[in-house]
Symmetry: C2
Subunit: 249 residues, 2 copies
């Protein structure tokens, strides 16, 4: 069985004796019932992974003797997913599943048809980040995505760099599939994808995105719920083709 | 706004006046507060879609005058997903999301490391089918997958036809990615995919599958939770490439 994974602060992993954060130590002791001497894995949520041995675990906390640290290579293309802001449970699902799918950035969009009005966007960002870091413990991804504060579409359009592959997933698109756009694109270093909220993009939003260089494309055969569309497009970009600069597998 | 969708029994959709099933009529009246005269869509979960007008709606039930019926083309390749049996909530999520992703058959596998022991597999099959049909109302797919009773791996291996593209998603696979196998395959009419349970396939299970003609492949960069792997592989097969016999988009 692989060693249990625990979270450590970003950038904290170096060989030697390291404290196990209090919450992780409590989980190790009370839920997993680990004992000193057992092998554990520490991840920092920013790509670093350490293997070590639990040296100390009691009510006051725990410690790990780190024996090796490595840095997981960042997958290419870099994946920036921009979903129209969804309701709480759908955003929570996205935060977890996009972490598993090795998404790099999540940038929610305050689109016209997005339902929620957030009173405290900062609290939501913290919640998504926390869910993402917890998700890392249950999958093999090495990094949590960053979560931006929800922003108006125009800000997103202006933020996407010129050399990124820019995609607009648009349920009204009848002519061009996501698969075709990806097949025709050179190996991109970064992909930005706009995914509509429940109810989709308003026509003027789709026009604005296309004017800003986003290529409109669709998914054939079905119309997905917004959160499923996010997971599907992330899956297709991450696993649908082998880019020369990308996959190590 | 598109008309509201309601479920009708499979094969029941023909032009003319049709009864709205009791549960659907109650939902239309009490939750959606529809009135006679409104346009509605009926789907039968087996590919048929009807447009019509609500003619009648009260406590006793409802009726729809169907004006047109069409049959959604079945997407190709036909997609048969065989997940190692997962816990209840994960199977429920799979039932819903694989419906959205236009999966054709779900055949759970009683693999060695599958945790649940089902007391009443028939009740589970009914539950998954009901969730799938409900999911159809909230997405644009035209068909619910069929759900087989959980079966031993050997039965699954024997059931897969010779001319299907047969894939084993195997987290120990280091050499071959799903993307590469799909890129090298001719346009298949049917794809079967074995996806391991939490804990993965036992080595002898992987060997048996490979001996039965299943091609072992992996997903780079990350290790997904079992239910996420099902959604990712279904997304990649459905939307990752345009097959000549397939996409209409």
């Amino acid at each position: 069985m692989s060693p249990r994974r625990f979270l450590a602060p970003a950038g904290s992993l170096v060989p030697g004796e390291l404290p196990l954060p209090a919450e992780e130590a409590a989980h190790a002791r009370k839920v997993l019932r680990l004992s000193p001497g057992e092998e554990v894995e520490l991840i920092d949520g920013a790509g670093a992974r350490a293997l070590g041995v639990l040296t100390h675990l009691n009510k006051q906390g725990g410690a790990v003797r780190v024996e090796s640290v490595d840095q997981a290579p960042a997958p290419l293309p870099e994946l920036v997913l921009c979903p129209g802001l969804l309701k709480g449970p759908a955003m929570d699902l996205i935060a977890v599943k996009l972490t598993e799918l090795a998404c790099d950035q999540v940038r929610p969009v305050l689109s016209q048809r997005a339902v929620p009005r957030l009173k405290d966007p900062g609290a939501k960002q913290e919640r998504w980040s926390r869910l993402a870091r917890q998700a890392l413990k249950q999958c093999g991804a090495a990094r949590a995505p960053s979560f931006a504060a929800p922003a108006p579409l125009d800000d997103l359009l202006a933020a996407a760099p010129d050399d990124a592959l820019k995609l607009l997933l648009y349920e009204q698109e009848q002519g061009v599939s996501l698969a075709r756009v990806l097949a025709q694109a050179a190996a991109p270093r970064q992909v930005w994808v706009l995914v509509g909220p429940e109810g989709g993009w308003a026509p003027q939003e789709a026009e604005a995105a296309q004017a800003a260089g986003f290529v409109s494309c669709g998914l054939p055969h079905t119309i997905l719920r917004a959160e499923t569309a996010c997971l599907a497009v992330a899956s297709v970009i991450r696993f649908g083709r082998e880019y020369e600069h990308g996959a190590t597998l």
